[in-house]
Amino acid sequence: MLSSIGSSLLFINILLGITIILFSLQNLNDGKNLINKKIYHICVFQNTLIIICFFTLVSAFIFSDFSLITVYQNSHSLKPIFYKITGTWGNHEGSLLLWVIILTIFSFFFLLYNKDHPKKYRIYTLIIQNILIIGFLLFLLFSSNPFSIISPTPKEGLGLNPILQDPALAIHPPLLYIGFVGSSIYFSAAIASLLTGYSGKLFALSIKNWVLISWSFQTLGILTGSIWAYYELGWGGFWFWDPVENASLLPWFAMTALIHSLIVLEKRNLFYFWTIILCLLTFILSVTGTFLVRSGILNSVHTFANDPARGLNILIFLTLMILFSVLLLFKKFKSNNYNLNSNSKETFILVNNWFMMFYLITVLLGTVYPIFTEVLNNSKISVGPPFYNSVIIPILILFLFFMSIGPQAKWIKNQFNNLKLLAIILTGGIIINFLIIYFFKSHNILSSFIIISSLFLIISSLKDTIELIENKNFNFARVISHIAFGFLILSIGLNYNFSLEKDFNLKLGETQKFKSYLIKFESLQLKDFKNYKAVIGEFKISNSQNNSELFLNPEIRIYENPSTLTYEASIRSGLLKDYYITMSNIDRSDYYNIKFQKKPFMIWIWISVIFISLGGFLRVFKNASKNY
């Protein structure tokens, strides 16, 4: 029943997409300046149906309709209702449906909120976006249909992987999807812009908010994934340079570059083609990431759909998309000679873009390099954190310096204000760095540079904030994001350098000494929960330095459906540091393996990222209130 409703809704949506394209083409030549009301109506209808379709799947999950393969494979009747619902997008098919919904909704809102822009440009955007929608619907319907049925109907489902049953992970996919699927709309707009010749400042204005929205959500999406990895994967790290994480980071770099180049396009009408390239690149990278992850050619933690047949379909789609956009770009490309002053704002924004491209290429290379060596050389290698750290960190220092100086520059002019003040700020940063070294009693050159450059960025952005307030200009978006970025790098640097970690085996009642800490294994108990049993340990951590005590309770969880063991870290977060403990059982022994970690400034990493994206949202609100 639900299956046939769902499948037919998907099919009708394809027809609606085609109808929109046909109507739009017809509407182009009717000589009027307004878009036909009919098109709006069909778009509303299209949105309604796809949302109903989504809720059909959600209800199949809620009511545990195991006649659907997707539900059977990813749900279980005893699962808490919250995870039944979030299970809808915790799998390949459901998440692709979410993907299509975002394509559709963005398509409609872009049409709705760009009434000031020419009809031809809007119609073309709508057509391109609907081609994307139809493409993904076809893919959904024929190779990943979430409404496929299984016969005979199983009595019970296989259950959702327990490590995915987690609040951070429940909101992670939607956030991330709004980010990188949202980038489809400026892909379409960029193509429309090339086709219609609608360029320059006005084009920048039409997509600005969409870029900001997708960028902010992308940032939050990456954050939730990272938080989840921190407390769920059990070794205290928050970024693994896993191919999937990289796949989410690649479009982020492109978007960040795009946000900045759009400012130049808007203010100075420069870099038009470069901006177009970035628009195209962002969505292409999003689809490439999806291809890499879903086809299974890269191994990673997101292994829910290793199906080469699906991979082939995405690859064909990707190829068509890339070739079409590249050929169109070649056809329309006109080389421009820019006359930039070397110390003008334009130049610095261009420098930002170079850095972003550098990071993008580095991460892209690291991610796909193993695929290339395997195909060309038949050797299996893996590219890990050492590569990324050694390439990215030194360049990051330079980047932070430019990021501090850049905003001080003026448009067009070749001059700097306040060079002296900047020198003072830099000296301040260096002094604080020495204080940090003094207090933590450890240092290395690279981390000192990271700390100095991030402090330089934070203080010079703070100085900007004060100037903004003095000028009664309350547009804080940029400074918030920049300061937060400085804090992010600073906290990561401190965290990376001053974390303590100890691995040991303990029996119940035993005590382990580590630096100034005494870790005592106090008790162990077994508890029953709704969908799992848990062995909960209690550890007393006493610090002889300040006579403080705290208790941590790591767990080993035994899930029944599917039967899996998971190790839950116990974390005490504080403003200055996190204490982190995990425990795992050792076969045929009374000993437990304990991992104890002290991680300074952990919480500031999360807070910084939230503020980075907040900057993006603020700018959107500001723009919206200006325009309407």
Binding site: S295, P308, L312, T319, V326
Partner: protein, 173 residues
């Protein structure tokens, strides 16, 4: 002219990348079996089922051929291949090692009592950890190894009549 070369270059890079992606799609499906055959097994360490010892390379080197069979009592298809394994037990040049995969000890013993025990040595892999080194991703699977620890053939799924004949002929040579 210069512009044309750049354009051509960009398009060829894109086609190259997509080509590599395309090939790797194909590679992945057949990777597990084809990659293993012809390779030499290294660092073998299998926990013995009953005794407190490990089965290592030394044991494999003593035999002309060894068939390592991954099985479990809960696995339906394992029952299908069982008669062939029992027949293979009597071959002169061949020893059989069973690896009891993610199983309960009692169920495994009952299974062998009911259906017969084809194995010269029996190992266990309670958590499926050791089997990873053999490229096992589902059971039953079996690996035929010669004296020099070269993997001659990997059988995915139950051993069939044809596989049985293949093994018999291989070990006669």
């Amino acid at each position: 002219m210069q512009v044309k070369i750049i354009k051509l270059l960009i398009v060829s890079i894109i086609i190259f990348i997509i080509g590599v992606f395309f090939i790797s799609l194909d590679k992945n499906t057949s990777y597990d079996t084809k990659g293993l055959e012809g390779q030499i097994l290294k660092n073998i360490k299998l926990e013995h089922f009953k005794e407190n010892k490990f089965i290592t390379e030394k044991y494999l080197k003593k035999n002309d051929f060894t068939l390592i069979n991954f099985w479990a009592s809960w696995c339906g298809p394992c029952r299908l291949e069982h008669p062939f394994l029992l027949k293979l037990k009597n071959e002169k040049n061949l020893k059989l090692i069973g690896v009891n995969f993610k199983d309960k000890k009692n169920s495994a013993i009952n299974f062998l009592n009911d259906h017969g025990d084809p194995y010269h040595e029996l190992a266990k892999d309670e958590f499926g950890k050791y089997s990873i080194n053999f490229g096992i991703y589902g059971i039953p699977e079996s690996i035929l190894v010669n004296k020099n620890l070269v993997i001659i053939k990997k059988f995915i799924g139950p051993i069939s009549e044809n596989d049985y004949i293949y093994i018999k002929e291989t070990i006669k040579k």
